[in-house]
């Protein structure tokens, strides 16, 4: 029997899709700002292996000499980013959705099994509710990261008025580095997220727009039902 199963509430879908373009604008305007003092690089044993960012990258994205513009965009969209994130967190707390999202004591061991399963090394994935263990960790981490961006951002933005935040972030330099690394983290998250969504298929993707999944119940399951397919 085909049946409609409610999956994502309207508010979760709304905040998810608002966040996507807002975060894109924040990353882009952040790069316009970062360009003015692009001092970060990746090095191993003293040898620089990657500069953030190569000239070709800057020119391709038309980034140079737009600091003032970048700041103006960044300080407008920061409001929407923060408010949208706050609405989402408050919603998960009030609705109880946090129970399905926060990792529990089994999550870290199970997430490993999920990873092995997703990489086709292991046949069975551990049983799950709405989100599997790896998702619980990822979706909680991304919220912690968002909060981190907000705090480190304020620590750089008003280091005198919010001196305690700057102190909490380990100082002005450390705050700026964390702010930068978190941004790189979003880009990596996005890449994995999109691949997982593609692999999970249409039923899963649709649920983030229309809110429901279609479940095909087998008539009279003889034993316990098998765990639902990984959703992303």
């Amino acid at each position: 029997m085909k049946r409609i199963k409610e999956k994502h509430s309207l508010l979760m879908r709304w905040t998810h899709w608002v966040n996507f373009p807002i975060l894109t604008v924040m990353i882009w305007s952040g790069m316009l700002i970062y360009w003015a003092n692009d001092e970060y690089s990746l090095s191993i044993f003293g040898a620089t292996i990657f500069n953030f960012f190569p000239d070709g990258f800057y020119t391709a994205l038309n980034i140079p000499h737009r600091l003032a513009e970048g700041m103006a965009f960044h300080f407008l969209f920061m409001w929407i980013f923060a408010i949208n994130g706050l609405v989402y967190v408050l919603y998960t707390l009030i609705s109880g959705a946090w129970r399905e999202l926060l990792p529990n004591r089994h999550s870290f061991k199970e997430a490993w099994l999920v990873l092995l399963h997703d990489l086709h090394i292991r046949k069975m994935a551990p049983p799950q509710k709405k989100y599997n263990a790896a998702q619980r960790i990822a979706y909680t981490a991304i919220i912690v990261m968002g909060f981190g961006s907000l705090i480190t951002g304020l620590a750089i933005y008003k280091p005198v008025q919010f001196y305690y935040l700057t102190w909490l972030c380990g100082g002005y330099h450390t705050a700026r580095i964390i702010h930068f690394i978190l941004t790189i983290g979003y880009v990596l998250f996005f890449l994995v997220h999109v691949i997982q969504v593609i692999l999970a298929g249409w039923n899963n993707f649709r649920s983030v727009i229309s809110g429901f999944e279609i479940v095909n119940d087998k008539p009279k399951p003889a034993t316990q039902s098998t765990p639902a397919k990984d959703g992303n």
Partner: protein, 258 residues
């Protein structure tokens, strides 16, 4: 009434179809609206040339509103972190010569103060140096993203105000500073100007300020980005309107407070 009970209950497939149609329809409409909204903002007209210029009109509005919000957190009790003198940079970074190029004539250098009443005071460097000196070693922050621990010494702006009986003028909302050649100018909100760490600096690393750092006297205002730290002060005036500001005319936030 009649049509109501004639309707049959929808099948699961019909429900799926209907809900998909509605949600994807709304999703497409909202995505389109978001895209159009972005296009509008990205191509929105530049603000009119005034005290501020060079920014998109709606973005300038947002900067000004954001300033009002964050000004609520400003306090004279919030002090910039200070460091021991040993931490101060020996090679003090030099970013710009606008308004302070060349070597000024230091003989008879006069600081002009234009009071609200219209009265003009001419204050000599000796008069300034005769007053108690305040030193600060702090992390100077540039809007570009770099920072440097620097060591400055001079007369606290609030001491300057009190000594020359300018307290009445601090009723004004803003202070404006200009270089002698009028090539560079900044506007400061009064609370930031009279903050206890704002200094009219005539020493850098314990020696007279060099020409390229704004000899003989420059502004050091740790609660602002470097762009507000005007080099070589020619005149100071008080105003209830925002005084002209070099970088605010070039798209930067007028407040630029830290």
């Amino acid at each position: 009434m009649e049509t109501k009970h004639k309707k049959k209950e929808l099948t699961v497939d019909q429900k799926i179809k209907r809900r998909n149609f509605i949600s994807f329809g709304i999703f497409a409409v909202l995505s389109g609206a978001a895209y159009e909204g972005w296009q509008w903002l990205y191509h929105s007209p530049a603000e009119e040339q005034g005290v501020t210029a060079g920014a998109h009109k709606p973005l300038r509005r947002a900067l000004n509103k954001t300033e009002l919000f964050f000004r609520n957190f400003f306090s004279n009790n919030h002090l910039v972190k200070t460091y021991p003198k040993e931490r101060a940079a020996k090679n003090v970074r030099h970013n710009s010569d606008i308004g302070s190029g060349g070597t000024p004539n230091l003989d008879n250098y006069m600081l002009q103060v234009k009071r609200l009443s219209g009265e003009v005071l001419n204050i000599s460097m000796d008069q300034i140096r005769a007053l108690p000196k305040t030193e600060i070693v702090y992390d100077f922050k540039c809007v570009e993203g770099w920072d440097q621990i620097q060591y400055w010494g001079g007369l606290k702006f609030i001491d300057f105000i009190e000594h020359f009986n300018l307290a009445g003028d601090t009723r004004a909302a803003y202070v404006g500073l200009t270089t002698p050649d009028k090539g560079y100018y900044v506007g400061l909100d009064m609370p930031s100007a009279v903050h206890p760490q704002t200094i009219l600096a005539y020493e850098m690393n314990g020696k007279p300020v060099p020409a390229n750092h704004g000899a003989p006297v420059r502004l050091i205002i740790p609660v602002k980005y470097g762009i507000k730290n005007l080099k070589r002060i020619g005149s100071i005036n008080f105003s209830n309107k925002r005084p002209p500001d070099y970088w605010a005319e070039r798209g930067y936030d007028y407040y630029s407070g830290l």
